[in-house]
């Protein structure tokens, strides 16, 4: 009965219907992506649609029928982001440089205006003239007359025909009717870009729904030479190659906003050349290595000691074992938050127990101690478990033979057991180092990277490891720098990947592949 589901017409119809539904969803998404100008995403979706139909409707490749779903997810959410990270690391991509260049030019043109010297402001009503043109009606306090301005002209009005609202602001006239609330709401998004004629020099720009000021263009975009020209003093702002238009007379005078500009390896270079970036980067790097190294060392030492102690069938071994793995069984996010509370200065259990009043997370040394201690609690059961397993795998004959030859237990451990254990566990020690190198949750949830020197406006704290520092650079409110953060990410990956590959070479995994 079950077999028939996977055979014959029924199966084929089912397959075609599934493919049709999936394809139409993907195509719809691709169209929407295209409409928003997201060409890469649209292209990926289109290719995915094609691949799905091609693979499942032909018999070209049987393995791909099994691989395709997983492959598409890997491409979209792992390979894609990796490639994008590498790309971003080559760009000036930070607060102030988040737009594309055409978007930036549009914004600069809109922003490149100046008000009249008196900063005149009129109370206005938005409405339509009798021939349907959008316009404003207002009392012109400079010329002392009522007027209507549309995009192209300005018409003075007689007071007699004008209807006022409760605040004596003109509302309508024989030639003009105000917009309804609904029409105004629809207009909301266009408000900043609307311009109404005032005189040959100035135009009226809206400040919300009820006020307008006099503006004139102060800078003009010159598309031929790709530069902005100041209409006030003739200064020229040209593309400085780093995502800004800069004054040709003064490179420091740049127009905001800038755009995402390719700067190739400059983000990487900054890490080593720019003092303000280099110092914290190197400090964080050293602590990251120390933290990962100490974490592996302490968790391995305690785990191994326990494994040795419980390697003999002593009474209560099972009970010990089930208690000892509890820290590993707990969801680590919860454990870290619990430890955070225990280190609380006033009420925390640690100070309570020790009878001290240490502000654990206010001093670099104490905060670092706390981080290592918590990580020891979280990590030792892992090494207890794997070291127990490895001890079982070491043949008993070896130590027995040594004992017969008169070796002391200490000698047996130092010369036989430990070297063999290290050989078996080396790949896991390396993997643990790589894991702790990026142990974001521990740092972020326990100390938040602190303590931090608030005075110099630095982002990096005493317990920040590279990955939490990178996170701060990328998501810092006010001044995020995705380009620099991506460059550090790429460096971390190269480092961790080479450490891990080294570890894998030591293990059997690579040989098994052959």
């Amino acid at each position: 009965m079950l077999v028939t589901i996977f055979r014959g017409k029924f199966a084929f119809v089912l397959k075609v219907i599934t493919l049709l539904i999936l394809s139409s969803i993907l195509v719809m998404l691709a169209q929407q992506a295209l409409a928003q100008g997201e060409y890469v995403i649209a292209g990926f979706l289109a290719l995915a649609t094609f691949a799905i139909n091609f693979i499942y409707l032909t018999k070209k490749s049987v393995p791909l029928k099994f691989f395709l779903p997983g492959l598409l997810f890997l491409l979209a959410f792992v390979v894609g982001p990796i490639a994008y990270t590498v790309t971003m690391s080559g760009f000036q991509y930070q607060t102030g440089n988040t737009l594309s260049k055409p978007e930036a030019i549009e914004r600069l043109t809109a922003l490149g205006v100046t008000q009249d010297p008196d900063q005149t402001i009129f109370d206005v009503t938005i409405g339509k003239t009798t021939n349907g043109e959008l316009g404003l009606i207002y009392f012109d306090s400079l010329k002392n007359e009522f007027a209507i301005s549309t995009e192209s002209k300005r018409l003075p009005q007689f007071r007699a025909g004008i209807v006022f609202d409760d605040f004596d602001i003109p509302l309508r006239s024989p030639e003009f009717v105000e917009l309804s609330t609904e029409e105004l709401t629809n207009l909301d998004k266009e408000i900043p870009s609307l311009k109404f004629f005032y005189n040959d020099e100035y135009y009226l720009g809206l400040e919300g729904f009820q006020a307008a000021s006099l503006y004139k263009q102060a800078t003009r975009y010159d598309a031929v030479n790709d530069q902005f020209v100041s209409l006030l003093n003739g200064d020229i702002y040209s593309d400085n190659g780093k995502g800004h238009y800069a004054n040709t007379k003064d490179p420091e005078d740049i127009l905001q906003p800038g755009w995402r500009a390719p700067i190739w390896f400059e983000n990487y270079a900054k890490l080593f050349s720019e003092e303000r970036i280099r110092t914290p980067f190197i400090e964080v790097f050293i602590w990251t290595m120390a933290f990962a190294g100490l974490s592996v060392l302490t968790t391995f030492a305690l785990g191994l000691l326990l494994a040795l102690a419980l390697n003999k069938p002593i009474r209560g071994r099972r009970i010990y074992r089930s208690i000892l793995i509890l820290p590993y069984a707990m969801p680590s996010v919860m454990s870290i938050l619990i430890w955070g509370g225990m280190f609380n200065t006033e009420f925390g259990a640690i100070n309570n127990l020790l009878g001290t009043e240490i502000a654990w997370f206010q001093s670099a040394a104490f905060a670092r101690t706390a981080v290592i201690l918590v990580n020891l609690w979280l990590g030792f059961p892992y090494f207890y478990l794997v070291a127990s397993g490895a001890l079982q795998a070491i043949p008993a004959e070896l130590s027995e033979a040594a004992a017969i030859d008169g070796a002391s237990p200490r000698q047996i451990f130092n010369k036989i057991t430990l070297p063999l254990l290290l050989k078996i566990l080396a790949p896991l020690l390396i993997a643990s180092f790589a894991f702790n190198f990026n142990n974001f949750n521990l740092i972020f949830l326990l100390t938040g990277g602190g303590p931090i020197n608030q005075l110099d406006g630095e982002l990096a704290g005493a317990t920040d490891i590279l990955i939490s520092y990178t996170y701060k650079i990328a998501f810092n409110e006010g001044s995020s720098n995705l380009g620099l953060a991506s460059a550090i990410s790429v460096l971390i990956f190269l480092l961790v990947a080479s450490i891990s590959l080294y570890g894998l070479k030591k293990s059997k995994v690579m040989e098994d592949l052959k």
């Binding site: 997201e38 890997l74 792992v78 002593i314 000892l324 996010v333 990947a497």
Partner: protein, 283 residues
């Protein structure tokens, strides 16, 4: 007696000291949850009074949508577990049982991809999801379906790798016999492999469930709305550094959230320890 002391005393002492170290935070969080004053201030480590007021608060206080957070976590982690194993099993089967060109390079690539720590590409994922938001608001930044997609993609490498390891241990005789009888790879997969592999698949699904349940930073970055949050993000934002005020309800909440995970973990011990030596399973 002397000999016993010499041989075993240090073993018991060490085990007892470390066991106390292991239990201390857990004991503390349990008595805090039962302490009616709800504060962290404990003059004694032995509870004087036992009450369930913190647990009641958790379920009745509108400031703490605890049940919603818990449901979000269970739904998201459950969906990731089921979907990622469904998708991953097919790839693992192909890697384990089919012969094709480029299999070894494929495995090496997979090995490399599954090593990549997802957190490194977090800003790229953020920007990509921000862009998806502009044309498909339902699956973009700030939505649970969007987070689900990112989780699925991020877990795929590890899951396929892990599944392949487990699948390799299932004897291939049955599907080879079926192949001799003329069954197609699809038929072998659905009719022979899947029924045989169900126990292994459920183990990986549960491991993936634990991993997702424990995920913090993507969830925090993605889910802004109070009612959308997962339990990890919810509880973290709830104490938000203000340990002294909300410690009691937090303790109660973290116990309830941890119990199912601890139970799953302990019952899967055997598989997890096997998996440990093959590569880390749980961070």
């Amino acid at each position: 007696m002397i000999k016993w002391l010499k041989g075993n005393l240090w073993r018991h002492s060490l085990a007892i000291i470390v066991a106390l170290f292991s239990l201390f935070p857990l004991y503390l969080v349990i008595i805090s949850s039962l302490n009616p004053t709800g504060s962290l201030n404990l003059t004694s480590f032995i509870p004087r009074e036992i009450s369930f007021v913190n647990f009641k608060l958790l379920f009745n206080d509108p400031r703490i949508p605890y049940l919603t957070w818990m449901r979000n976590s269970l739904v998201i982690a459950g969906a990731v577990a089921i979907l990622s194993v469904t998708i991953g099993a097919a790839s693992a089967f192909a890697f384990s049982r089919l012969r094709f060109k480029g299999k070894i390079s494929g495995l090496k690539l997979l090995l490399l991809v599954q090593m990549f720590p997802a957190i490194l590409a977090i800003s790229a994922v953020y920007v990509i999801m921000e862009r998806i938001q502009t044309f498909a608001p339902a699956i973009g930044l700030g939505t649970q379906p969007g987070l689900l997609l990112v989780y699925l993609g991020g877990a795929m490498g590890v899951n396929i790798w892990l599944l392949k390891g487990f699948v390799d241990t299932i004897p291939a005789e049955l599907d080879e016999a079926a192949k001799v009888d003329g069954a197609s790879p699809m038929q072998i997969y659905w009719l022979i492999f899947i029924p045989l592999a169900t126990p292994v698949l459920s183990v990986v699904a549960l491991l993936s469930f634990i991993g997702t349940f424990n995920e913090f930073i993507l969830a925090r970055l993605f889910l802004v709305d109070m009612a959308d949050r997962t339990i990890a993000v919810g509880l973290q934002s709830f104490i938000g550094g203000q340990y002294s005020q909300n410690w009691g309800p937090f303790a109660a909440g973290s116990i309830i959230a941890s119990v199912p995970i601890v139970i799953i973990f302990l019952s899967l011990q055997k598989y997890i320890i096997n998996g440990l030596t093959a590569g880390s399973v749980k961070g």
